[in-house]
């Protein structure tokens, strides 16, 4: 299935892209996605799906917009 990924802040440089559509296996979870993107699961982060935060084991659906961001603290 196709989902759109938006990387945020320094994660852009870690993943090597800012925003793109990717093809992932059906039932891919947030944790699976981190492995696909080669982003450490241990890195403090917040993942949102269509603007809402997700749990590590939450599955994505076709057409979702997923943002992967460091845990900002508002300066």
């Amino acid at each position: 299935m196709k989902i759109k990924i938006k990387m945020i802040g320094p994660l852009i440089y870690e993943a090597g892209f800012s925003e793109k559509e990717v093809d992932v296996p059906a039932e891919t979870t947030a944790d699976d996605l981190l492995d696909i993107l080669h982003v450490s699961r241990q890195r403090p982060k917040i993942i949102t799906r269509n603007g809402k935060a997700v749990a590590p084991n939450e599955r994505f659906d076709e057409g979702d917009r997923i943002a992967v961001s460091p845990l900002y603290s508002g300066g």
């Binding site: 917040i46 949102t48 900002y72």
Partner: protein, 612 residues
């Protein structure tokens, strides 16, 4: 007593006199420094009801026991006074060599009284104090003033100065330093201007007293290196705070069109990636190894130092998505010495009020050229419009009428920072109960709200988180006086800060000792508020009404159809009051004040307003 010099420098500009005053250990242990010193001194020495722009107001520079000591990230000072914008205690912190130089000159605190007869540069060098003419740079911006000072004294001195905004008593004029640092959002720069105090320069030669200098040197320098390595590893400084913009746009938290909208398809044009692509240099404060000030060139080739707050409020909130133009607006605010956040809210409110027919004018969202003219007019109080814009959104709304106060984006008179809380209840609370008005410095809980609780919740866990962060961010970091960034952005352990404090002072404080002082300072600021506004009510702790207005709900996106709910917000506010030990007006109860050893201050407050 180690860590503290034990001295305050009191200067009177009217009489051109100065006095070195000692304070005792009890005062140091009770109020620690920075915001604690400033809040206590101004509470004791200012009579409620005074004109904040009159000679009876006092301008305070306060440092803490670890300020200026090489360690992460201690190059900061607190500036404070009665705020002309909010009408009660106001303060801010900024990076400045003053943190080291004033301490080396022998002082932890400077109190400036009275009003100079002519524009003045106050020069402090150890025991010497001089009242020098600043007429040469009166009328000039902060960059020229800073360059003039460096030309006279070299770059190693501690500097605080103001631009045209402060000189002309713009109510959100700030204090500036290091050509890029600014502090004192609630018009503390205007208080300097009201005293005809253009600049302060400090230079010192005596080492800051420490309990164990070799141990602190090893600890501090080692940790500075470690923070620098952590910053490199996480890549935080690549975009620094400007990375937040893209995230706020994803989660419907970005200010757009005077906070009417929460995201925008063109936001990417001004996000952290674009800022990094346009980067000229990165600047930081003294004793900093995670620099946050990314500079870009504007269309005129001027270097402008950006962070998230000014891109959010001078960019997306004005629907200006041309990064160099945002850079120009930011540059002008810095040059004039204006708070970029209040300035952004003032301009967006003006455009919104025109659009809604509350006033007439020729400014529209997206018009960067007119925005530049309006900033100039506000900084110089040019004409009727310049005077109006210089007074901040609350006073503008009162002048406009037509219920425009509902969308004047401020709390207690201080404009909100760049987080759109249309449906972020905990952050709305954080703005509502921030000590000095809607400042983001004291508590920022948006990622906590989204990740560890539900956005819909108005539960006690959010009030508890706000208090936890207030104790750390608005408390400890503001009274030991250090920058919070290594802790909040890199996860540098919070336990390190009592370690620095104890190594410098020879004490053995825990984090709980810090929280007790933080709670005391917060309560004292509330007493200050009560004294100035005896009719204080819980309504004063509400965010702008537009965030509760269903007609303002997003039509699409993650929070479509949702806004804050008034009764639920009130419940959240009550959780905060209950956990803090405040009464239904948001004022500390007598019992709370007694626990915090504020009986004497409470008795003084009762002369003006009732306590329960």
């Amino acid at each position: 007593m180690f860590g503290w010099t034990g001295n305050i420098l009191r200067v009177n500009l009217s009489a051109k006199t100065f006095k070195k005053e000692s304070y005792n250990e009890d005062f140091a242990l009770k109020w620690v420094g920075g915001r604690g010193f400033a809040a206590k001194i101004l509470y004791d020495e200012l009579k409620p009801g005074i004109d904040p722009l009159g000679p009876e107001n006092k301008f305070v520079v306060a440092l803490g026991p670890i300020a200026g000591i090489p360690a992460p990230n201690t190059g900061k000072a607190v500036v404070a006074a009665k705020s002309p914008l909010t009408g009660f205690y106001g303060d801010g912190n900024l990076g400045t060599r003053m943190s080291e130089q004033l301490r080396k000159a022998g002082y932890d605190c400077l109190i400036v009284e009275g009003k100079a007869a002519r524009p003045t540069l106050l020069y402090i060098e150890d025991d010497k104090v001089e009242f020098l003419s600043a007429e040469e740079v009166w009328g000039q911006g902060t960059y020229a003033t800073n360059a003039w000072i460096y030309g006279k004294y070299g770059k190693g001195v501690g500097v605080l100065n103001i631009g045209q905004g402060g000189e002309n008593l713009n109510l959100y004029a700030m204090v500036r330093s290091l050509e890029g640092r600014a502090g004192g959002r609630p018009g503390i720069g205007a208080v300097m201007g009201s005293k005809l105090l253009k600049a302060i320069v400090a230079k010192g030669s005596t080492p800051i007293p420490q309990a164990d200098p070799p141990a602190m040197k090893t600890l501090g320098l080692g940790d500075l290196r470690a923070v620098g390595e952590l910053n490199k590893k996480t890549g935080w400084s690549i975009q620094s705070t400007t990375g937040v913009l893209a995230w706020c746009n994803e989660v419907a938290g970005l200010p757009v069109r005077n906070f009417r909208k929460t995201s925008h398809p063109e936001a990417w044009k001004i996000d952290g990636e674009r800022v990094n692509d346009a980067r000229i240099a990165t600047y930081g404060c003294p004793n900093c190894t995670m620099r946050c000030g990314v500079t870009i060139h504007d269309h005129e080739g001027r270097e402008s130092e950006l962070d998230y707050e000014n891109v959010g409020l001078l960019g997306s909130n004005l629907e200006i998505f041309d990064l160099p133009q945002v850079g120009s607006l930011n540059y002008l605010c810095d040059e004039y010495g204006l708070d970029t956040m209040s300035a952004g809210c003032v301009l967006s409110f003006y455009a919104d009020a025109i659009e809604r027919g509350a006033t007439t004018g020729d400014f529209k969202f997206g018009d960067a050229e007119r925005a530049k003219e309006l900033l100039r007019m506000a900084a110089h109080r040019e004409g009727k419009l310049g005077n109006l814009l210089a007074d901040g959104t609350r006073r503008m709304a009162r002048a406009f009428g037509h219920n425009s106060e509902a969308y004047a984006m401020q709390v207690k008179g201080l404009e909100v920072a760049a987080y759109n809380c249309k449906f972020i209840p905990g952050q709305a609370l954080a703005f509502g109960v921030a000590a000095i008005g809607a400042h983001h410095r004291e508590a920022w809980i948006i990622t906590f709200e989204l990740k560890h609780t539900t956005r819909e919740s108005y539960g006690p866990e959010k009030a508890a988180k706000v208090i936890e962060l207030q104790r750390i961010r608005g408390g400890m970091f503001e009274f030991i006086v250090a920058c919070r960034f290594p802790w909040i952005e890199l996860g540098w352990p919070i336990e390190n800060y009592p370690k620095y404090f104890n190594t410098v002072t020879g004490l053995n404080w825990t984090l709980d000792d810090m929280w007790q002082r933080a709670d005391r300072i917060y309560s004292l600021i509330k007493l200050n508020y009560l004294r100035e506004f005896p009719g204080a009510s819980r309504g004063d702790d509400y965010p702008p009404a537009v965030w509760f207005d269903p007609e303002n709900a997003d039509k699409e996106g993650p929070i479509a159809g949702r806004v804050l709910e008034r009764d639920k917000y009130d419940g959240l506010l009550q959780h905060y009051y209950d956990q803090r030990g405040y009464d239904r007006r948001g004022i500390p109860t007598k019992e709370t004040l007694k626990k915090l050893d504020l009986a004497q201050e409470a008795a003084e407050a009762e002369r003006y307003g009732a306590l329960t």
